[in-house]
Point group: C3
């Protein structure tokens, strides 16, 4: 169930970006679908789960198309709803990160790499979305995004080592991811960057 919510929210985010960039209706739908499923597809190809879950059935496609149509039709209205969209996006990130980690563990990957693949499940769709619209993936640039996904994924990967059942760590993992992401948005939490390092000396001189 949560997976479908994540798919819809990511499709909305891809569809909104495509609409803003002036793509035609079909381009918007393609971008919505790619954003929703690319992360999971990368993970599935890397762990050998072929055909990937998002390709094996038509539900992810249907949900993505619905999300893309909503974004195309109501883009102005959705742009004003910035806060709920950011919250849902964080929720989608958290859900994909924890379920992706769980699936990688099920396929026998060691916990560290399973957490990395869980993170990839969460951030991969957005990366492909940004590359297709010819910009540096926002996940690389600023705000805590990939780190939030990794933190949630790590909790799920470490859980079994601490004797916790998988079900017991999935929700806390997703919640941790959402919490970190919300803090980054509303409190401005961020990581150091070379640009801020470069700016520091100038500030000292004044």
């Amino acid at each position: 169930m949560l997976d479908l919510v994540g798919t819809l929210v990511f499709a909305l985010s891809g569809g909104l970006l495509g609409t803003r960039r002036g793509l035609d209706l079909f381009g918007v739908l393609v971008l919505a679908f790619v954003t929703a499923v690319a992360g999971g597809i990368m993970r599935d190809l890397l762990i050998g789960a072929v055909p990937p879950a998002s390709i094996a059935t038509w539900q992810p496609l249907t949900i993505s198309v619905a999300g893309g149509l909503l974004a195309f039709r109501f883009s102005g209205w959705l742009d004003r709803l910035r806060s709920p969209v950011l919250f849902f996006d964080a929720a989608g990130l958290g859900v994909f990160a924890v379920t992706g980690t769980q699936k990688a563990l099920d396929y026998g990957l060691d916990p560290i790499m399973a957490a990395v693949l869980g993170m990839l499940s969460g951030i991969g769709g957005g990366m492909v979305r940004d590359v297709l619209t010819a910009q540096v993936p926002c996940v690389l640039r600023s705000e805590i995004y990939a780190v939030a996904a990794l933190a949630g994924a790590a909790l799920v990967a470490i859980g079994p080592r601490l004797g916790l059942s998988p079900a017991a760590v999935l929700l806390p993992g997703a919640a941790l991811c959402v919490f970190l992401r919300m803090m980054a948005i509303y409190r401005g939490w961020s990581l150091p960057s070379a640009r801020s390092k470069a700016r520091a000396p100038e500030t000292d001189i004044r």
Copy 2:
């Protein structure tokens, strides 16, 4: 046979773009090869046909290199031949879309996703070509391109349900794709886009 024509035409389109962008000879050849095979490789990875057909033998490479060399040597001449090149490109799109759909069906995918993968076989090469030259894939932006591929692919995917033999739908599917694409080019058929929506009010005011 038709598959080889599609490979050659797509290699020409990649090679021409690379030449226009001032890539060196080897860059042109790489771009020609990638444009010709990326769509089929994505499809093969997603359905589990490993190693992909374009990697398993050296014919696609040879044809792509030939196409890239032609594009590099005769780029001025080919640029003037715009109409035939567009027609061959549409033919390549149609061929890849229907053969890709057929292969996905053979690997047991359901008809809807098989059509999507057929479309991907047709448009994937051009998408990678455009991403590697740092532009938004033209397939997302304008004119009917992916839709034409999807229409042809859908015909092939639905065929067996209507009791038609695969061979009976392959050519009509490719022809439908070429027809839609030609209409988009010569009659200006297109899908709605957010930009045209945005422009509409201005036009009304005048």
Copy 3:
């Protein structure tokens, strides 16, 4: 052992580019990891070696993170060390090209395609690095880079046909790649490009 050196050097190159582009610390680490492993992952997916070697264990990740941290912390210092970095990058390219070719041969690919996949192992990471930072991959644009990788890879692919043991061609192959790359950098060896063709007539007129 050499593989680990290649991983470290490629991680440094990705980390340096990310630092220069003002990515945050985590973005730098992601870019370092992707640059170090993307080429090998593409090769492994294409030959069906799943999960790819860089994902199956955590060593490549650890080395990449170390490389990314070094690049983030000492970027000014490393920028001044241009020559050693270029040499190590060439060494990494050569190592990845020959080991990639060897692995593709082991998986039963024919020699020509094995050499192509070896080249891809060497250049793939840099291509993804450049696409993620929204620029045309430098491997497509100028200087002998992919050609050097292909030459080294070809030597390894042809070796067995000449009755040489694999071990006997690995080092000469890597050395050939490093030699060609160094000549391109210090002697300006290059391939013809359409732009230089276009410029030629002007020179003739004077």
